[in-house]
Amino acid sequence: MSTATYIPIATLCTSYKVETSFFQDLNEYGLIEITTIEKSPCIHQNHIKNLESIVRLHKDLHINFEGIDTVLNLLEKIQELQEDLAAAKNRLRIFED
């Protein structure tokens, strides 16, 4: 397991200008997954995109963690529906001249 793919929370705190407690809260709400590497709490690189979305929703729109969780669940649902719709549209082409 390469540590290069894990980013220390301390680094993220500086970048996003947030306190460590922000990440602890996110972890408690089940919004992120914290992994400890060499005694330092880290986040996997693949989860950074999702994390940044959470940070923006919180900072730009002042949405609390319960709200963010709801938004993310709904977005996931929308994505599934969009994929179903795209597949259905592709299927409908069979009947088009």
């Binding site: 950074i48 995109k49 923006r56 730009d60 592709n90």
Partner: protein
């Protein structure tokens, strides 16, 4: 360069109070924020518009200037000053997006109108979208023909001046998005790069209709072959096959040709099926003799 009515953007009239501006901005920001509208260019554009409107109307100085010059802004003092400031920034702004179709990689945060009036990008008051650590994702579209995706192929694409080697697996779907990790915008302060997301738009002008890995086609057969049986040669996607037509084949009969369909995505050497629907062609311009023979057949039936 067109005048932008910032009041209209926020759905307000000119007498709006600071509190009304803030309320209108926040409401619209929640609706159009890119994180709640992923892959929605219209929402992204709208979000930039409302941010710009807020940037001007929530700043007393900027609002005053905007209100004063209004539609005649080009003749105003602000315009004169801004023109000078703009000279130094133009060079930076001209570093446009790459030459890869459909990409939208480095959109300016503010409109030309804003930059002319207020002199460039301005000092943001911390509104809009918070800065990231991870680089931006690049979205691009690639137009392909169905024939291009029948076989796996390699292509070199130029995205923002960089060449990217891309393997397009056979059987890719129309509308499918392939992610190329780390080929998006660079991260900030050692953050990871964004990804390059390529959406495939696949056009199909062949006689074959595609549903995933299955193909559908109609094949005309003459009345006599349909009734008496025989052989027909039908075209598959990449060749031809001879088919035996059973006697008394009905119009609309479907035949399944196993493994003659489209490649199955990421399953090398595996193919879907081809479904042929027979369409029986009725003879026309019958000769007297043919008519007589059909009459004879008719009489045999009764």
């Amino acid at each position: 360069m067109a005048f932008i009515d910032y009041y209209k953007v926020l759905g307000l009239n000119k007498s709006a109070t600071t509190a009304e501006i803030k309320k209108a901005y926040r409401k619209l920001a929640r609706k159009h924020h890119p994180d709640v509208n992923p892959n929605d260019k219209t929402a992204e554009h709208k979000f930039k518009e409302i941010n710009e409107a807020n940037e001007v109307l929530s700043d007393p100085e900027k609002r005053k200037k905007y209100d004063k010059y209004g539609k005649d802004w080009q003749h105003g003092e602000a315009y004169e000053q801004a023109q000078q400031q703009q000279q130094s920034q133009r060079h930076y702004q001209q570093q446009g997006p790459g030459n890869f179709g459909g990409g939208n990689f480095s959109d300016s945060e503010f409109s030309d109108f804003f930059e002319s009036m207020f002199g460039g990008r301005g000092a943001s008051q911390g509104h809009g979208r918070s800065a990231g650590f991870r680089g931006q994702d690049f979205n691009a579209e690639l137009q392909l023909d169905i024939k291009d995706v029948f076989e796996t192929q390699k292509r070199v694409l130029t995205v923002n001046g960089k060449n990217i080697r891309l393997t397009i697996p056979a059987g890719v779907e129309n509308g499918q998005v392939i992610k190329i990790s780390g080929k998006g915008g660079p991260g900030a302060n050692g953050g990871p790069n964004g990804d390059l997301l390529i959406q495939f738009n696949i056009s199909n002008s062949t006689k074959f209709k595609r549903d995933g890995s299955n193909l559908y086609a109609t094949e005309k057969i003459d009345l006599y072959t349909a009734i008496l049986g025989g052989e027909v040669t039908v075209r598959t996607f990449d060749g031809k096959v001879k088919l035996k037509v059973k006697p008394e084949t009905q119009n609309g009969t479907k035949v399944k040709l196993k493994g003659k369909g489209f490649p199955i995505y990421k399953k090398d050497g595996q193919f879907g099926d081809l479904f042929i629907t027979y369409e029986i062609e009725m003879p026309t311009k019958l000769s007297d003799k043919e008519k007589a023979l059909f009459n004879e057949l008719k009489n045999l039936q009764s």
